[in-house]
């Protein structure tokens, strides 16, 4: 793919390295001469020195031949303007932007930015997930009676398809704790029916988990 990378961050060096390693063709627009030089010397990446908010600079970087634009400017406003120009004037297929203020993510998407990456949002979600898993660990007894969580995705051949939860002879010490259906989590009752493509989250003592899983899949 042809990727237009817009950045003045030193960190972009490693992103460029990864993308080049995957066989993509990168072009860089940067206000930082040193970054242009280092990416050219290391990976033969052509660079345009200047402000990507200026359509002339975008054209110098051959924006009309690009498939993806990645905007990594420090300022949210700069990223938004660059993505909007690329989408509206040059009809780029996909625009990816970092967003410093997570409160602006919805606004960016509303204005045509296809993917938003927010560092603060990512770190926040990792911390939240960490909290959840810490809590789970806290409540699961340890030692000989270790409890494990396993996910089973049902397919057309699954023996429990269209059966209600209570009809499944799950071994003692095991339970279907959650069903993820069409991207939504639901806590099953005994009368909940299993459907194709359901993701069942099974919680069981480690000694019976294997039996429970083979019963479902």
């Amino acid at each position: 793919m042809n990727i237009l990378l817009i950045s003045a961050f030193e960190k972009s060096y490693f992103l460029a390295k990864t993308l080049c390693g995957q066989g993509h063709h990168i072009t860089l627009i940067s206000k930082d001469q040193e970054l242009c030089r280092s990416l050219y010397e290391a990976f033969d990446i052509p660079g345009v020195l200047g402000d990507a908010g200026n359509p002339e600079i975008l054209e110098q970087a051959d924006i009309s031949k690009m498939d993806v634009l990645i905007a990594l400017c420090e300022n949210d406003a700069d990223n938004l303007v660059i993505c909007e120009l690329a989408k509206r004037e040059y009809h780029i297929k996909s625009a990816i932007s970092i967003v410093s203020n997570p409160a602006n993510i919805a606004f960016f998407k509303q204005n045509g930015v296809d993917y938003c990456v927010s560092e603060s949002d990512l770190i926040d979600s990792i911390i939240r997930k960490g909290d959840i898993s810490n809590n789970i660990r806290k409540f699961l007894p340890s030692g000989d009676h270790d409890v494990v969580v396993h996910e089973v995705i049902l397919n057309a051949k699954s023996p429990v398809l269209n059966k209600k939860i209570w009809e499944i002879p799950l071994p003692p010490q095991s339970i279907v704790g959650c069903i993820v259906r069409d991207g939504r989590a639901l806590i099953p009752q005994g009368t909940t029916e299993c459907r194709n493509n359901d993701k069942l989250i099974v919680i069981a003592a480690s000694s019976v988990m294997q039996d429970a899983v083979s019963l479902l899949s």
């Binding site: 200026n54 359509p55 300022n75 406003a77 700069d78 938004l80 303007v81 409160a103």
Partner: protein, 146 residues
């Protein structure tokens, strides 16, 4: 009897109180309006007169939290007058879309993006073009008078 008759003063918000915004703020302070000024740098408010009849808010104008804190909902007009073209564009779009205020004007120095944003419904004023037009008008008038 008009004594109890109260008309609502128009409410205007200026975002950015630097080289460009400050003279606008000074002018508007003398008008009979409700004025709110937002700037990221609290130092700019130090030069305001003490008798100032307006609300000063310190914060980033592209942050919806700042705009909410400034009570932007219900404003009659907004001027995005920071020294950054991209910030002015973003502010103008945000105010139109999120707060449904139509009277938003963004100051732009760079003419290359003007067309794109006019098409998007952002009202743009370019100070350099205004000055140039004023010059031509003055010259044309002078030529006409000769």
């Amino acid at each position: 009897m008009g004594i109890f008759h109260k008309t609502k003063k128009p409410s205007i918000v200026i975002i950015g109180c630097g080289h460009f915004g400050y003279p606008i703020v000074q002018f508007l302070l003398e008008q009979d309006i409700r004025l709110t000024v937002i700037d990221a740098n609290p130092d700019v408010f130090a030069k305001m007169p003490l008798s100032l009849n307006g609300l000063m808010v310190t914060g980033d104008g592209t942050d919806p939290d700042t705009l909410d804190a400034a009570g932007i909902t219900g404003a009659d007009a907004v001027i995005a007058a920071t020294n950054d073209d991209a910030a002015n564009i973003m502010i103008a779009q945000m105010i139109k879309q999120r707060y449904h205020i139509d009277q938003v004007i963004a100051r732009l120095y760079d003419t290359s993006k003007e067309k794109t944003y006019r098409e998007l419904g952002v009202q743009v004023i370019n100070p350099a073009m205004l000055f140039t037009n004023a010059c031509f008008q003055t010259w044309n008038k002078a030529v006409g008078e000769v």
